[in-house]
């Protein structure tokens, strides 16, 4: 059992005695999961609970002329059959726009379609029954008369005059457009020795969380209070949205998130069927449960990354990159998803292309158009995999064109490690990155020269191996600049409450959530270190809007960097409070004392003075023995939001080594490497496993995953037999390395690590495939995913 940990220790304010910062501490909450004793929402059962199934539109675009409910209402076990028009009386519609994405527009969306369905899979009627099976049976008996309408399926023609407009009130099918022109792009291309121009396509794919989206909504008519058990990344955001659209106060809504069977950005959005489930509970005055089945997941979980990017790079003979230019087109379905919008992904592509490099010349256009397919929105590493594929694909094509080693070309263009603070051509502000250190680390870690020699030798034997790279930057620790400034009620701050119990143990209540990434472990490590107890004496509580400070939850790699800092500050504050009491009890100055391993000690000598158990006993049960005027405050809350920088950018570089079977087109992944800089590493094992899991998700995008639609807007492969995901046998071992550039915006200095793997992997695999096929004269492959058929076509074999 090998745990890679090559991260150098960082000695700062974090260097407390018995610190857990930087240690591979196992997560405290795993035993219940390995024993099958977790509690996922799909496991939740409540008294009087009913189950809902939805009748979904079989058409991509259709008017709903009539709905006959009678037969369904008479079916065994049925409690209610509810249409969109009926549910609209319970819950108000929503519109997914943000004011800082200027011009972004969308149409009102209802929990259940009213009069018109805009994608295949949109719910048009709900059937609530005693069991899910009864509800599904009765769905078959609901008679819906549809009038099929023309479907807009091709983003390329969505803006043409003769293409029907999906929402006539919007005037056209354009959701959002952004243009950027920085530096002297035309002059730069004109002065280049070589210009490479190509079109990249990133296939529409989706998150395929192992546990489908699940929700149990319980409106208690007696309490006038709604309790929602939901597998979500953002309980407070959902509390706000349920309250807003049901006309309730926050105090009337509690969102509980226990174990979540995978999220990856899929579970941070407003889903019409989940909103409908909540509205149905209010309507029927009883708990209602909805768990998406796998087919429903494929046609309703947000899709992502459906982009076509025309792209261009200029380069001089000495390897200097002169300019980047892109024209991005993306079709996001019929609605911009609420409340984060579906404009962010393309906006990120514009922001991130060229981001690691010094070239000041950059022109970009992005158009986001409506289509009659399932909606697209933010999925792990939002926009990054697309931008990195474009940038790094161009970089390696340019290197090949001028005959320069691809790592050498990067060395000549990556922003220098001593150039910070600085910003990119697109205006992204970088506090401190380490591109060159990361590249050098990767070079030696993978024995690049040795691999090149092996590759050359094998080519002579007719074995075609490829080496591909991807440098990248990654948005983490977002400030209010991401959503708050655009009017979305999505908080970027987060809070932590640390409380001493009457046995001298602590609990940490945090607004971030556990999705399996290890947030609870990180919070426990941080609080234990800041306060001074063994980690076994820390209990972490997350995912409950009644019992945690207001917070944003888990998204954009924010839990450790933002939630962790809040826990650090709260832990320190509680330590100060406890030492004030200890000082009174011991007649010592608090600043001469410390808490170590759960004992108040003399700070200078480490001599034990008072166990926390004894302090807690006195403070809670014999406060009368404390000097007058001493009131023990044994609970402390602190909040944190990044203020110094809009985002804490991280950076890194990945490499892929693979072999292409030129007879079958199959790609065998041999090895993958990643060197990443997420600032202070709180738990090296958890960081590495985030990187590995993220890389495999990115590999899925490069080789297997695509939501295929026909010309009528029908999804063709909405099941796990036809939509391929990475499985164990095809995946490589992945070696991780680290650089450490802490952010000075927080004392912890931690940046996010959750998305870097996914950001870089697709580009890296693409570049390796092209490197393998280059000596065979194959046209570069730029259309993901790279199924065997595409590879054989590039080789001219089919």
């Amino acid at each position: 059992m090998k745990i890679t940990d090559d991260s150098p220790p960082v000695l700062t304010a974090l260097d407390r005695p018995n610190s857990y910062i930087g240690r591979a501490v196992p997560r405290p909450n795993l035993k219940r999961l390995t024993q099958g004793r977790g509690q996922y929402v799909s496991d939740v059962t409540l008294p009087r609970m009913a189950h809902v199934a939805y009748v979904r539109s079989p058409h991509a675009h259709a008017a709903v002329k009539s709905i006959k409910k009678t037969a369904a209402e008479k079916a065994p076990g049925v409690i209610a059959v509810v249409t969109g028009a009926e549910l609209a009386k319970v819950m108000t519609p929503w519109v997914g726009v943000l004011t800082h994405l200027k011009g972004l527009k969308s149409a009102p969306q209802a929990p259940i379609a009213v009069e018109r369905a805009c994608w295949q899979g949109e719910a048009v009627c709900a059937v609530v029954a005693r069991t899910r099976a009864h509800a599904e049976d009765a769905c078959e008996l609901v008679e819906v008369a549809y009038e099929e309408l023309p479907a807009v399926v091709d983003p390329e023609t969505a803006l043409d005059g003769k293409t029907p407009v999906i929402h006539s009130s919007l005037g056209d099918n354009l959701c959002f457009e952004r243009k950027l022109d920085v530096g002297k792009v035309d002059e730069a291309f004109a002065s280049s020795d070589a210009v490479v121009e190509t079109t990249f396509v990133t296939g529409r794919h989706t998150g395929v969380t192992n546990e489908p989206r699940s929700i149990v909504a319980d409106w208690n008519e007696g309490e006038q209070r709604l309790t929602v058990y939901q597998g979500t990344q953002a309980p407070h955001m959902m509390q706000d949205l349920f309250a807003k659209h049901l006309g309730l106060r926050h105090a009337q809504v509690r969102v509980l998130t226990k174990d979540v069977g995978g999220s990856f950005g899929i579970k941070v959005h407003t889903y019409a069927d989940e909103m409908a489930t909540v509205a149905l509970s209010k309507l029927l005055k009883r708990p209602v449960k909805f768990v998406a089945d796998r087919i429903e997941s494929f046609v309703t979980d947000i899709h992502a990354r459906d982009h076509r990017i025309k792209a261009k790079i200029g380069v001089r003979k000495d390897g200097t990159i002169t300019a980047f230019e892109i024209d991005d087109l993306t079709g996001i379905g019929p609605y911009s998803v609420y409340p984060r919008t579906s404009g962010i992904e393309a906006n990120q592509v514009v922001n991130l292309v060229g981001g690691p490099y010094t070239t000041p010349n950059y022109r970009a256009q992005a158009r986001v158009v409506f289509t009659n397919k399932n909606v697209m929105c933010q999925y792990r590493a939002v926009g990054h995999p697309v931008a990195v594929a474009v940038t790094e694909g161009l970089v390696e094509l340019a290197a090949a064109k001028i005959g320069m080693d691809p790592l050498e070309l990067r060395r000549r263009n990556l922003i220098a490690d001593d150039a910070y603070p600085t910003q990119s051509a697109a205006g992204l502000k970088f506090e401190k990155l380490s591109h060159h250190e990361a590249l050098a680390h990767l070079d030696s870690m993978m024995n690049y020269a040795g691999l090149r020699a092996e590759q050359k030798k094998l080519r002579d034997q007719g074995i075609y191996r490829g080496i591909g790279f991807a440098s990248f930057i990654e948005v983490t620790n977002p400030s209010a600049a991401f959503y708050g400034v655009g009017g979305a009620r999505i908080t970027s701050q987060d809070g932590a409450t640390v409380k001493l119990d009457a046995q001298g143990n602590i609990s940490v209540h945090s607004g971030v959530t556990e999705q399996g990434q290890g947030a609870e472990a990180v919070l426990a490590q941080v609080a234990a270190s800041a306060f001074g107890v063994p980690i076994e004496r820390v209990r972490v509580i997350t995912g409950d809007t009644d019992n945690t400070p207001y917070g944003g939850g888990t998204w954009a790699s924010r839990a450790a960097g933002i939630g962790g800092e809040a826990a650090w500050q709260a832990g320190k504050a509680l330590r100060a409070n406890v030492l004030a009491v200890a000082g009174a009890m011991l007649q010592a100055k608090p600043e001469t004392l410390d808490i170590r391993r759960g004992v108040v000690v003399d700070a200078a000598t480490g001599a034990e003075r008072l166990p926390l158990e004894e302090l807690a006993r006195v403070a809670y049960f014999r406060p009368d023995t404390l000097p007058s005027g001493v009131q023990a405050e044994l609970m402390a809350t602190r909040h944190y939001v990044p203020r110094g920088w809009p985002f804490a950018f991280t950076n890194g570089i990945q490499a892929s080594y693979l072999e292409v079977d030129v007879d079958t087109g199959f790609v065998k992944l041999l090895k993958h490497w990643c060197v990443e800089d997420c600032g202070t590493i709180i738990n090296p094992q958890l960081v590495d496993e985030q990187i590995r899991g993220g890389i495999v998700q990115g590999i899925g995008a490069a080789l297997f995953e695509q939501c295929l639609y026909d010309e009528r807007g029908q999804m063709l492969n909405g099941n796990m037999a036809d939509y391929l995901v990475p499985m164990a046998a095809e995946m490589p071992d992945i070696e991780c390395g680290h650089c450490v550039s802490p952010t000075a915006d927080s004392e912890l200095g931690a940046k996010g690590a959750g998305e870097a793997g996914t950001a870089g992997a697709p580009a890296c695999v693409m570049n390796a495939i092209n490197d393998a096929l280059r000596p065979l004269g194959a046209a570069p492959l730029t259309d993901m995913p790279f199924m065997p058929g595409k590879i054989l076509a590039a080789l001219g074999k089919v």
């Binding site: 546990e211 489908p212 069977g261 990856f264 899991g693 499985m727």
Partner: protein
């Protein structure tokens, strides 16, 4: 539509169970809904993801591809029973130490599949481990930590036998 109901008798984790089930009820739905054994998970309901794997008469099966009615007279074991019996404690500990799970949804099925491999082949290679668990979908880990954990248990068990 719901149709014929059948009476079945079986043992689940050593407990004798007699229940009436719809003919169409899958084994995993029966375990989760009738017996409240929620450790076996429902991920895809068409036999691809492996989250519902349980042991029937000593063989691992997908609980979504077997009907409860087919289990009349069978001996069914789930993650809950195997955990309490202590049969897989070393695998569970290795998964926890190596962080071979993140969200944990695939873990019960993954652990049962790994145990199946180790019972058949005491010294599997990494490739054999990968092959054996290749019907168990994990979206979180990227699989390497799982392979590491299973490999380490195989080595420990082999060492203990020597």
């Amino acid at each position: 539509m719901s149709g014929t109901a059948l009476d079945i008798s079986l043992t689940v984790n050593g407990e004798r169970i007699a229940e009436r089930v719809d003919a169409r009820t899958t084994l995993v739905d029966f375990l989760r809904e009738s017996l409240a054994l929620t450790g076996s998970h429902v991920g895809c309901e068409h036999g691809v993801c492996g989250a519902c794997i349980v042991r029937v008469n000593g063989e691992i099966v997908r609980g979504c591809l077997m009907l409860a009615a087919q289990c009349d007279g069978a001996k069914v074991e789930t993650i809950e029973g195997l955990s309490d019996a202590g049969e897989i404690t070393d695998l569970q500990t290795a998964f926890e130490q190596r962080n071979a799970l993140q969200c944990g949804f695939c873990t019960p099925g993954m652990v049962l599949t790994a145990q199946d491999l180790l019972q058949r082949n005491g010294a599997p290679t990494r490739e054999e481990i990968r092959e054996h668990i290749s019907g168990n979908y994990c979206r979180c880990t990227g699989y390497q930590a799982i392979v590491d954990a299973v490999e380490s248990v195989a080595q420990t068990r082999a060492g203990a036998k020597k």
